[in-house]
Amino acid sequence: MFPLTVENKHVAQLLLSTGTCPRCIFRFCGVDFHAPYKLPYEELLNELQKFLETEKDELVSEVPNPPPKKIRLQELEDGIDGMDNLSQNGEGKVSIIEDGSIASKNSNLNVCNVCLGILQDFCEKEFIKKVCQKVEASGFEFTNLVLSISFPPQLSVREHAAWLLVKQEMGKQSLSLGRNDTVQLKEAYKWITHPLFSEELGVPIDGKSLFEVSVVFAHPETVEDCHFLRAICPDCFKPAKNKQSVFTRMAVMKALNKIKEEDFRKQFPCPPNSPKAVCSVVEIECAHGAVFVAGRYNKYSRNLPQTPWIIDGERKLDSSVEELISDHLLTVFKADSFNFSSSGREDVDVRTLGNGRPFAIELVNPHRVHFTSQEIKELQQKINNSSNKIQVRDLQLVTREAIGHMKEGEEEKTKTYSALIWTNKAIQRKDIEFLDDIKDLKIDQKTPLRVLHRRPLAVRTRIIHSMETHYVDEHHFRLSLKTQAGTYIKEFVHGDFGRTKPNICSLMDVTADILELDVESVDVDWPPALDD
């Protein structure tokens, strides 16, 4: 059933005659069910013309421009804007342009003066197919998708002009038109194209999908349409660092909400001019939202930093824990890049033993995202086979939210370490045994000199819960420590120029140094342990 009613007739006629396409006419007549929009364009145009012609007899024909009659009518009708070509007659009937149907036939073969072709050519199967070919060629694995369509900002100006025109026309019939009484271009475009995309690609459209296809339209011919707004609302168009142009869609919308109707009408034609060409497509791009992989790693090397160690643009060591793990993930997930995070970190010369340290990796723009647990297990094996400097366990796909658990434990939990300590004075077993009896020793640590350049200077109280000594020889012993997270172990041993007090040197009254340090456990329960 044709969706327009007698009530819409004047508006439809007016819009059609000024070069607006049938679907935009539906939008401005508030047609809010999908089916009519989906009809083939030619059919719509014919139906619309038929609709407007059937009751033409009821309408009074009038020569629009520039007969004296019009001027007379305008003089009679108080408060009617002189800019308009059309006016209302006394019986509540609307005059139309003579030969309006012919004129509109011609104009509607042309580009719509409101949507600039968006609801014309760009709703055609041909265009949808073109986009879908790009999507399929992009090589992404996806089970649903979200479409993101970006229209040129000046389209909002035309939309506003058309809205004012329709509002005025309806005013003549004592009808009102609110901002939300029309259907947004974006909505109509969705109603028409979503089913077509879905059918063509064989997957549903889902607003929550991580796979996004974005189509960006531009219309070079009318770029300057929105420039006049800047003079009127300069504060809406403040330049920002990463914007190419101040005329963003948001800025234009903001200015349009502010601008007075009269001011707008003075600066921009209502109805808008008919453009020569339809929009151009400047971008069809696919992107997949990040996915996250977590696990635990062991580090068995004292020459391996956790993250690339770069000073003055030069690499100090040619590998890192994050690279040894992430390189494999990047390949398998076919991702563009990664972000590595972990529950704390160890120094380059510190090993991480025991169950390892929890980590998570964000894979940015992955082309492949579906893996069975078997495949993940194989991936873990591949990582472990590739290097003897690190090993990974409990590798699994996780959600973005779950990564919070990893950071929660960072500050609260205890950590256990093993340190190899040298003393300048010769020692015997009895000289170190007293350390075993010390429980919950409070120490005050000034920010270590080695990190002072990038952290605030502060004195932090930390607790050494317990220590256990293992005598090695006259100048060496091994110390196992259980400490509060955030304790600087190296500084507790050598004292950091007396800046950590007490320290092993002061407790033993020797000069002590730390030769080796291992993290024995990081007591964080996340990610969940997996069976082998």
């Binding site: 090397s301 003897n388 400097k389 090993q391 350049h453 200077l457 020889d473 100048h475 007396g498």
Partner: protein
């Protein structure tokens, strides 16, 4: 899983199997003839992260045998004391700004001699060493670790240039040899 072989621990060595803490992380720079006073050498330990620890060089008169320190004072003028230095936050707001000639502290010896210790490097004063106020002997016992004078953070962009006017370890040793020769020659 194959672990990397562990570094074998040198058996019962009085010296550690690795260089000392200072040698591992710091570069030693020397300033001879501070303000034209011979032999009052300072040693600046610069960490690889650009932090500078100001210490006395081994040749400084205060460290010579027989010297006793009466007191140390960070009050270098009526209005300026290193003890009042306050730094806050990652960017160390509020730190005293030091030029290379800025005095840090005065050391008064029991023989009546008085020595002024200078910053030698431009930068922000992070902290002075309060421990040596309470126990001046630390300064003589461990001049290059616990007996440090102050910690200075140079500007990032000046982290290389601030040491340009200073002597390297090798140059310092050469100066010392000449100094000793000169002293021997004149005496």
């Amino acid at each position: 899983m194959a672990n990397e072989p562990e570094t074998p621990v040198a058996a019962s060595a009085a010296e550690p199997a690795v260089p000392s803490l200072v040698d591992r992380y710091f570069t030693r720079w020397y300033k001879a003839d501070v303000k034209g006073k011979p032999c009052e050498e300072h040693c600046i330990l610069q960490h690889s992260n650009r932090i500078c620890v100001i210490t006395l060089a081994g040749s400084h008169p205060v460290l010579q045998s027989g010297k006793a320190i009466k007191s140390i004072s960070y009050q270098i003028s009526t209005n300026c004391s290193g003890l009042q230095n306050k730094v806050s936050g990652k960017f160390k707001w509020g730190a005293q700004i030091l030029t290379e000639l800025a005095p840090l502290c005065k050391i008064y010896c029991s023989d009546g001699e008085e020595y002024t210790i200078s910053s030698c490097v431009r930068g922000q004063l992070m902290e002075v060493n309060e421990n040596i106020l309470h126990k001046p002997s630390i300064l003589q016992e461990k001049p290059s670790t616990e007996g440090y004078i102050a910690v200075v953070l140079p500007k990032f962009e000046e982290s290389k240039s601030i040491t340009e006017g200073l002597l390297t370890q090798k140059q310092y040793e050469e100066v010392m040899v000449k100094c000793i020769n000169a002293t021997t020659a004149t005496s």
